[in-house]
Structures are given as C-alpha cells and as structure tokens.
Symmetry: C2
Subunit: 323 residues, 2 copies
C-alpha cells in the first residue's frame, strides 16, 4: 500500500507537503505541487480514507433515510441513489440506507432524507448533523427537487396546445409542497389561457385513479386531457379510458409525471414529465458534502428543470417528434 510517506520520499518533500497538496493546494508553490503530483501518479497513490477520517474526526459516511413505505416507493429511487453514491464516492464518502422508520440516527457525518411529511418535521429539526432533503418543503430545510411548478406548467401548456378542450389535473391526495407546486403550475397556465382549473385528487395508486375515472366518467366528455401528478396515476387513468373503449390520444390525452420506468411499461406509452433523477441525486450528494465541509452552513435549495417527453398518450401536432 502506497502511503503519504512513500509519495513524500519520492518527491523529496515532507509528508505534510503532500498532505497540503491534496487538501490545501493554495499553500504550496507550483513547483512542489508539480513534483508531488508526479510522484503520486507514478506510485498510483490512493489516500487512506480511514486514516483521514480518524484524523479529522469524521466517519466519511452519509445516511440516506427513506421515510415512505418502501413498497410505495417509486422505482426511480434507484437512479437517485446512483447519483448520490456517485457524488459521495468522488469525495471518498460512502452510504448507508435506512428505511422502516428506524429512528436510530447512528454514526455518520450527515443525512439525506426523502419522503418527509409534516409529521416528521419535529424529529428532523432535532438532528444536529447536516441534513439535505430530497423534495421541496416549506420548513426552511435545505433541499433539492425538480421545479415542480414548471413541470405542472409544461404539461398543462402542452395539453392546451394540442387542442384538448378540457384539461383536468389529477393530483395526489397529499398536503405536501411538491403537490401544491405542480397544481400551482397547472392553475397558472389555465388562468393565463382563460380556462377554469379543475382539480381532482386521489391516492397515489393506479387503481385509485382508475376507480375515480370509472365513477365519474360522464364528467369528462371527449377531447379532455388529464394532466397527472404521477405516472402511477396516469397509468390508472389510461386503463380506465381503455376500459371505456375510448380512443387515446384522439378522444382523450394523458400526461404523467416522473418519467422513469412506469411510463415505458404501459401501452400506449405515456407522454410524461421527466425528471433527471440521477442528476438530482448527484446534486443532493454535493450539497450535503458542501454543508459538511462548511460545518452545517445553510445551503438553500436547488431546483432542476424537468422536461416534457412526448409519446403516445397525446396527439401529434404534426411534424416529427421524438418517441
């Protein structure tokens, strides 16, 4: 195993100079830096994480809390984790996952928390180490999310542009910020278009949205588009329409939200709002590492713009659009 000392010997400097080249390069002359880098490269030096952690009184571990029922967790979480892990690895951090509401905080340098609901506010506020939330919130916690309002605007605007007469928002029956933001985007675009918003909310299960539409079928005449707050909901809407024998996308349009996995596995494939979840994960990781580095300093929030993915549950305007 190559250590700092080996590199130091090779470069004819002290261990401290090597250490500084790594951690405080601005304190070292360019000349020495060059020498040291060369030596590190020749010897293929890999810093020893444990030693660093010990010396700095760190763990180099981040915990990822999933507060939702794991069975209802969206499949895109896998991508989120990949992104997080990527960012952490770059800084020699690694990951522990915590689910099932085991409130044991354990030993680590910081937390990424997802699926926070109002009721979690209290105990999260007690955590002393740095925390970043995945998912927007109104409690002042630092967070990362897609721009949910923009997502709602994107899909609504697109539905209107395709000439659907009635555009209904099918939301998730949760009083949470991300949901309100998507609805706000919908409402804003509707009002700008001088249309009356119409929102219905269901649990985030395909069978619930399916049931909702079956029961209220007569409320939705032909030429209606359903702008949904999740792909799960969109899938249920799609099934209900198919059951009625109506035509998708000519009579009815559907736009989902999430764009990972589920959208691909139905037929016709969902037009949806895609979030770059892996990227979001990366940003989460970086933000947390910064916060750790800065002794818990507030980081604010970061919103990533979502994209519209045009597929088979909405009409074509004509022209060639990507599938």
């Amino acid at each position: 195993m190559v250590t700092l000392a080996d590199v130091a010997r090779r470069a004819n400097v002290s261990k401290m100079t090597v250490s500084r080249v790594i951690n405080h390069p601005e304190q070292v002359t360019d000349e020495l830096k060059k020498l040291v880098f060369a030596a590190m490269h020749e010897l293929d030096y890999r810093p020893n994480v444990a030693a660093k952690a010990l010396a700095k009184n760190r763990t180099q571990i981040v915990k990822f809390f999933i507060l939702e029922e794991i069975s209802t967790v969206e499949p895109y979480y896998m991508n989120l984790l990949l992104g997080i892990s990527l960012a952490l690895s770059r800084h020699q951090y690694s990951l522990q996952l915590v689910a099932n509401n085991s409130f044991d905080l354990g030993v680590c340098d910081g937390y990424i928390i997802t699926g926070m609901r109002k009721s979690d506010y209290e105990w999260i506020s007690r955590i002393e180490k740095p925390v970043i939330l995945f998912g927007e919130n109104l409690y002042g916690y630092d967070f990362v999310d897609t721009n949910n309002k923009k997502g709602g605007m994107l899909s609504t605007r697109y539905a209107l542009s395709l000439g659907y007469d009635k555009v209904v928002f099918v939301g998730i029956d949760l009083k949470e910020a991300f949901e309100y933001s998507r609805e706000r985007g919908y409402i804003q675009v509707m009002q700008e278009s001088l249309k009356e918003p119409e929102i219905v909310r269901v649990e985030n299960h395909s069978h619930k949205s399916q049931e909702m539409l079956q029961k209220n079928w007569e409320k939705y005449p032909k030429n209606t588009a359903f702008v949904c707050a999740s792909d799960r909901i969109a899938v249920g809407i799609e099934r209900a329409i198919q059951e009625k024998g109506a035509n998708i996308p000519d009579d009815y349009g559907i736009i989902g939200y999430d764009g990972i996995f589920l959208d691909q596995v139905v037929s016709p494939r969902l037009t949806t709002i895609r979030q770059d979840v892996a990227k979001l994960g990366e940003i989460c990781g970086e933000m947390l590492l910064n916060k750790i580095e800065q002794k818990g300093k507030k980081q604010g929030f970061k919103l990533l713009d979502p994209m519209l993915v045009k597929r088979e549950t909405t009409r074509r305007k004509g022209g060639s659009e990507k599938s």
Copy 2:
C-alpha cells in the same frame, strides 16, 4: 466522544480488556466482561469505525456493481439494496454503488455484483478481493438467488392445478443460468404431468411479449395459461389478451415472476412468484462479510424459496385465498 480509554477508566481495566470484550470475548473472564459491558452502556460507547479500519487495514466499504443497463434494471433492486445495506450496517460497513460499466474497482473490502453475463466472467475472475454475486451462475462464483427452478415449478404446478389445458412458458431471451433454471422447473412439472412443454422466449420488455402474443394469437386457444419468467413479460401478455377482448382469468391465465411493484400496478393484478428480495440482499451482505472475515474463503451459494402470490390473473379454485 466516548472512546475505549473512557470505558476502560470507568471499568477500572485497561483499554485492551475493553477491546477484547468486543472482539474476543472468550478471552475475558465473565466478571470483567460484566463490568466492561456496564461501563459501555453507561457511557453509551460507540466504537470508532475509522480507527478500527485503520488499525486492521480495512476500509469498511463494500462496492455494489450493477452490470445491467440501469434503465432496464428491475424496480426490486431498491429492496435488494436495503437488505444489503442493513446487513452491512450491522457490522459497521457502508456501501458504494457503481453502474455504467465503470470498471474502476476502487478501494474497498469486497464486492457484490449483479447482472453478470458470460462476457463479464473474465474481468471478474481477476478481482482479488472477495466477491459475491447476486444471481445464480455456473462459473463457481459464490452467489445468492431465489430457487429459480422451484419458482418455475411452483407456477407451472399451480397453473395445471387450476385446470388450464395448455400451459406455455414465456421466457426471457437470455442464455443465463436463472432463465434455464426457471425453464427447467417448468419442464419438469410438465413432464411429470405428461404434458408437452412449450417454451417461447422474448426480450424482457412488456412490449415484446405483447407483440409476440399478438402475432401468434391463433396458437393459443382458450383455456391456456402463460407462465412467465418476469412480471414485465407477464404485463405484456396481459395487455395482448385484453386487446383481443378475451377474459382473464377464465379464458386465459397469467403468472408472473418477481412480485415487486409491477405486479401491483396492472389490472387485473398479477398472480406471480414473489421473491423476498430484501432478504436476499441481507444474505448477500452477510455472505460477503463472512467471506471478508475468512480472508476470501469460498462460501458456496444460498437459494431462498420463492412464494406463489395468488391474485387476479388466475382462476380461483374456490375457498378463500388471500388477495
């Protein structure tokens, strides 16, 4: 921070005695052990992972390699990861995820690898640190999986018991061990029942199995059951049958394989073979930790029995069965 030294002082023993109580309790008298445990408890002592790692020349890190295209990865991987992480955490290990075929092995104590194909054999065999595969293989690597043959037998036997006349196996178009095992289970039960096996293979996408069935619809008369090698495939089969306006489960039965997420999100809900993926993950983690502890000693393999989950894509025999 409470250290070994603090505990030692409190218990009026040396640091080494405390260390021994933790790592080699058999070398310490019961009397002292009691004292030490009491002291640890009173002080809420938590061992410092970094220090331990440094002293033992370990990293306390395990890498998880995903060799499949991440976009085709099954949603159940999230549960697998939770299981792995749980096992690792118990032994103060943490996790790094690696995807996108970045062949950088990095620094860690061992690897869990999933999605290995024949072409990966070569480079995996070069890895010096302990490796456990998730997914059965014929190359002598230690692995953890469900009993795929048993899974194939379970679903085939159930289909036959429900009186479906023809029972067809819709497999995944991959020359891999897990697929062969599922097929073997199917074939064995068919032969025991003096029925002719009939196997068709498609890519593991719902649209592919759907297409297959659309094209070959006339081959499958009423009273056929499709035993599928994945829920994805089963979902496509279900859609194709519905398109034809045939009745599920009376005219046609469907049984999937995996039992996480996808089975719940279609309608009617899939009868399927469920794997306890989180448990599998836990076992993976434990097996790897053992292997690390035993300096790379061969661990063999561990198969977990899958379960049949009876839902709505197969007939009822009568009686009350869980949904």
